[in-house]
Symmetry: C2
Subunit: 338 residues, 2 copies
């Protein structure tokens, strides 16, 4: 594919680099203290691929981890924005502060679909306990899910009680992004008979809590029943799981069901994020994914010095068909063990 | 995220495993001889994540590499299917055989969008020099781009002269899939003034050849001009590239411009896939991506034996916030060097 080797030459933007605080320690402290302007600048740097942010991200990761990171995804038109607006209101009423990271995985050649952040603030404009930020690919190849992980590291190091990460459900991407969340809410729209049947069983692997929005729709009850059947089936395959995903019916435009949804999210955190070995395995799987994601990006990078010539020498026999990608990946994996 | 740790327990399907030829050598020979039924079964196995296919894929990779792998992508409604149908006809008229791998990155909860393979055969039904196969995520988390790479390894080991890999352009996914192709054709629809301005500069990094389809549309000329300007700008940033992407106008429904497109693809292969150091760097970037993709999947896998406990022990300090993902990824990358 074109220019995979040279994309790094254009992606980092010098003015963005200059706008990042030159003192990592001061930036970390500002983020930790809840400085939203510092946060916004740092996320812009992550989005643009500004080099040199790793020391800040390392430190923020080690000092973070107190927020509850909730993923919200679902197909276009399911009412995600309205529901999230109501969820923010629900948490605010309970005294919790909320940040939202809205990820737009849309193609660089079809343009963005996420509403402007200021518009998205909606009823929460002027509330300092709410922060909304969207993030798009800006035409870079690769790395949006990794960048989303870095942005969540930033938000999670701030004093937000709840951090929502949102994507529109249009493919593999949103599942990769949802892996950064501790608890995933999967939103569904009421579906007619054929569509219900066509919805794939895989969705029960993605969500911890299912929401059928537009609960006043004639197909809502049937859709909820179908989801419950699929969840029950999936649970019989995975009896070791200490949590059976509930199906919550909401009518986000009226705020109906939102309180129940917030209660279920709290219960899910209790069941899945405690000290059990199941909870530990879940967290470990998330970390495995995150490290694998960063490692993969290392492979993409063309370094200008000779820092990866050793790797090219290892990959050269693949070009000559004397070796193959699976064998080399196995060899590299084995080397990591030592 | 839910069940990342246990998804492997459900994904492999025993009946699929049984349907794969138990003798890897015989299967490799059948594929090499152009047995389309063996090919279809093997791709189904790849799609389902059937275990034990690696020995076959390793051997096929080493013995393949003679096909020209062309990527075709673009937004929904741009006319990809019609154009590909015409391209197949063009290559067939020149005596070349053609296989098509159509990747459907649609969400597991919105259902597939790719037409049935038999329907897609269209005017080429009954032509043994044409093979069309679609591939979807089937609700598995992760791995669609990696699976597409494996399927291309299979097709590339067969006697097809041209292998087309097609995705609908809806996000990060299609760029990941396009990285498996040697030459990428990016299809655009004529756009109005605002849309043209909104199309992001990043697209010039993705395509080697641009096509404005529906060339009889009043906005076609303006869209082509805008693309040419963006390409010229990008070329000034990358003067080392021996190829300036052309913009080809087509009217796929009438077959107009398709011959010119096929000529341009041939020229692009000559310019970019020869023995120059630029060509070598491009191929190396593809292989880096491919190995990184497989390696990342190794990270995702939960192995039932103790094969990855050493990794979990290394990741454990991340859970305790005594270490962080970036540092551990750097450490693992450094270990690979030795």
């Amino acid at each position: 594919m074109s220019a995979v080797g040279t994309i790094q030459a254009t992606a980092p933007q010098p003015e963005a680099a200059r706008r990042i605080d030159p003192d990592p320690g001061a930036l970390v402290e500002a983020i930790r203290a809840g400085d939203v302007r510092a946060c916004a600048r740092l996320i812009t740097g992550i989005e643009r691929g500004t080099p040199g942010l790793e020391p800040v991200l390392r430190e923020l990761y080690r000092r973070g981890g107190r927020s509850r990171v909730v993923g919200v995804t679902g197909p276009p038109g399911a009412g995600k924005s309205t529901l999230i607006d109501r969820m923010i209101g629900g948490w605010r009423a309970r005294g919790a502060t909320v940040a939202v990271l809205a990820i737009d995985p849309s193609s660089p050649f079809t343009g963005g679909a996420v509403l402007g952040d200021r518009l998205r603030m909606g009823s929460h404009g002027g509330d300092r306990g709410v922060f909304i930020r969207s993030m798009a690919s800006r035409g870079q190849l690769g790395g949006l899910a990794r960048a989303a992980g870095d942005a969540l590291t930033v938000l999670d190091a701030m004093p937000w009680d709840v951090v929502i990460v949102e994507t529109v459900g249009v493919g593999q991407n949103e599942t990769d992004i949802m892996r950064h969340a501790s608890v995933v809410v999967l939103l569904q729209t009421p579906m007619g008979g054929d569509d219900v049947q066509a919805s794939k069983a895989g969705i029960t692997e993605i969500g911890d809590i299912f929401v059928v929005n537009k609960s006043d729709h004639p197909d809502a009850a049937r859709t909820a029943r179908h989801l419950q059947e699929m969840i029950a089936l999936s649970h019989r395959l995975h009896l070791e799981r200490p949590w059976v995903p509930p199906v919550v019916k909401t009518r986000a435009t009226e705020g109906e069901g939102v309180g129940e949804l917030i209660d279920r999210i709290g219960e899910c955190f209790q069941a899945l994020e405690g000290g059990s070995s199941f909870a530990r395995e879940r967290r470990l799987a998330r970390v495995r994914h995150r490290v694998g994601e960063i490692l993969r990006e290392q492979f993409e990078k063309r370094v200008s010095d000779d820092g990866s010539r050793w790797l090219d020498a290892l990959l050269d026999p693949i070009l000559r068909r004397e070796n193959d990608p699976h064998t080399v990946a196995d060899q590299l994996f084995a080397r990591m063990k030592h």
